[in-house]
Symmetry: D2
Subunit: 218 residues, 4 copies
């Protein structure tokens, strides 16, 4: 695998980066140093950070889902080289090949996910972390007040068991507000979903995939 | 309007009833006496009633929605004779005629609702009261665990601003788990929805009616 | 009982009032007309009212609790003349005399409450309605961020089963943020608490009264 | 540091353990192998695990808090040898010495905590993870229904910002139901609390320590 080193400072407040292409064609960059810009509440005798303004106000980015061909290659790279763990997978009709994989490098249920797709280098969605199911409802309300295009939700995922809304920004990119998902530890066995149950795995209440969700953004 | 008196005791633990047909063809019965069967927690030094078993466990019936032709007749009867108040209404394309009305005889946002329909005497759904948005999510999860057919939800209504799931029992009757809705007082002005916004009024997040919802049950 | 009529307009945007003193010495005013100043969301095709700013943002005033001597007189006046219903009561050690009564004129668990006290005309607290237990937590967080004096909470009442925080404004008046409480209907039997269980009745989790709570404000 | 190896199988379904005493005098055991006994929902096409029975039903053990003298020694051992990260700390009046430290080896806000104490080898509490603030309320209700002795709560911690109830089992051991806390990553700076703000750090709403909490269990 070819790697490229990008000097420190090329990206604002960021140390040297190592750039490489993963098997599904996406470009990934790793870095070890980033200037600390604070935690939002301060480091001394902090107060709790309550919701006190307009907008959805997610906590942080939670994960992203990428589309491409060689997701076996990605799984091997991320688990054997980058320290990720396989959390859940969906099988194709043959019961053997993976249609999708969810992997983590923390105790979150997923930090990144890949879905098999004929075209490489695609993005399905970027997801933002919400603190509670009630804050997911508020997010949906704010989307409707602003006539934001909602793909689906509020609902629950079977995969990770988190709660979710998928929606589109004005450029057509799919975004997600996501809450929860179980804690994952590296010694836990992965969960496997059959092709027959993929609908329930993705949208636990509707139990079927909707056409809008199957579109790939970029 | 013809009324009929049904003697006390004909319905178990219930006093004399007055039976009549309302303008949309539904049979309504009024009674003043019912044997007290308890409040579920006792009348002396009660404990709080927590969720401690399987099943959705709604608090009680919340309201029902009925279909029929003469909803103006119903509105007149319920508000002028039976003490109900008009809370919200949806207008037809002409901007004058009511497509639907929500009325209350308590401080709840609605106790009964009527939708104009070519056929009289129809039921759209019976709704059960839930204590919180989190309990609505649990209800949806229990429906999916039991493969119950969900019409739509969890979501929010624009009308009443309550949260909701519509689902079907095995006979095909539509039921609802409903939480919240604002408090209503008799001196509040009714809210009016235009034909163009009926989708957002009914399903605040999807902002359109779905085909399943438009079917009438019985 | 002596009544006094106050002409329309003496209080801004308010019709004629009838003023009288209730048996516990508090002055009460009734009026039938008030200029409509809106419902906060509009009367046509409204959007949902989400939390989008700083502060606790209660929905509205919920109830108040008053202290005085002749609470039997109040109970008689409010239930026999003003259309209230008795919802819950706490008995003194003798098991006969009421220490406190909670009464309602809506489907809320209480609209006003009275506690027996040697001095007439006192206020214990004014309470504001919150939409959810999560919003009660946010209220407590905001109080702490602003170093507001909290009496007790977040916790639950045994009486009404609502959730609560009591706190003090800078002048020393006790206020409450209150959520829930069961729906009450006029044909429900009142619930009675014994003297031995009053602690659990008032503060369901601590199961005892705290000194701060027993103080009377004004 | 003296270590002892305990053969596989001595503890049911557990591999070889390494046992040693940490500087505060507590005995710690490490093991790498444990028989998988399932995840509670199954590994294939699982359903969501909803609350469907009596009892508080925490998800799992979350953390424990231990008391002893040499917490600097513990901090050095856990961060330099065992891979933990310091998340928050409280300083004594001198502003230099640690009164308490919270450390993590996952993305949870803490996996273990230590408080300085004259006596070694003590336990303050064992904490169990709850899924939501609403489930913490239900836990408090169940404690009151069963007349379980509650130390404090439901309330929030300033440290970790999680929500909490402390309570005692019939033997007098302190337990906690805990929800949330922010996600922690190893590159985050620790948060420091001053002696003056320790009350708000521990109990964010009461802003003072209560006597019951200061007792050490064993």
């Amino acid at each position: 695998m070819k790697t490229e080193r990008i000097p420190a400072g090329e990206l604002l407040e960021t140390g040297e980066r190592v750039r490489f292409q993963i098997p599904t064609g996406h470009t990934v960059e790793l870095y070890a140093e980033k200037t600390d810009v604070g935690n939002g509440i301060g480091y001394f005798d902090p107060d709790v950070d309550v919701l006190d303004g307009p907008g959805i106000r997610p906590i942080r980015m939670d994960h992203c889902l990428l589309y491409g061909g060689d997701i076996e290659g990605n799984l091997k790279l991320f688990t054997e080289v980058l320290g990720f763990t396989l959390v859940e997978r969906v099988k194709l009709e043959d019961g053997k090949t993976d249609l999708a994989i969810w992997i983590t490098c923390s105790a979150k249920a997923h930090d990144i996910a890949f879905v098999r797709s004929p075209e490489d280098g695609k993005l399905h969605h970027v997801s933002f972390q919400m603190p509670s199911w009630e804050s997911v409802l508020r997010a949906a309300d704010i989307m409707s007040i602003n006539r934001v295009s909602i793909d689906i939700g509020p609902t629950r995922h079977g995969v990770t068991q988190g709660t979710t809304i998928y929606f589109f920004d004005p450029s057509g990119n799919r975004l997600e507000t996501f809450c929860g998902g179980y804690d994952h530890y590296p010694d836990m066995h992965p969960i496997t979903w059959s092709w027959e149950n993929v609908g329930r795995g993705i949208f636990y209440h509707d139990r079927k995939l909707n056409d809008a969700f199957l579109s790939v953004v970029t």
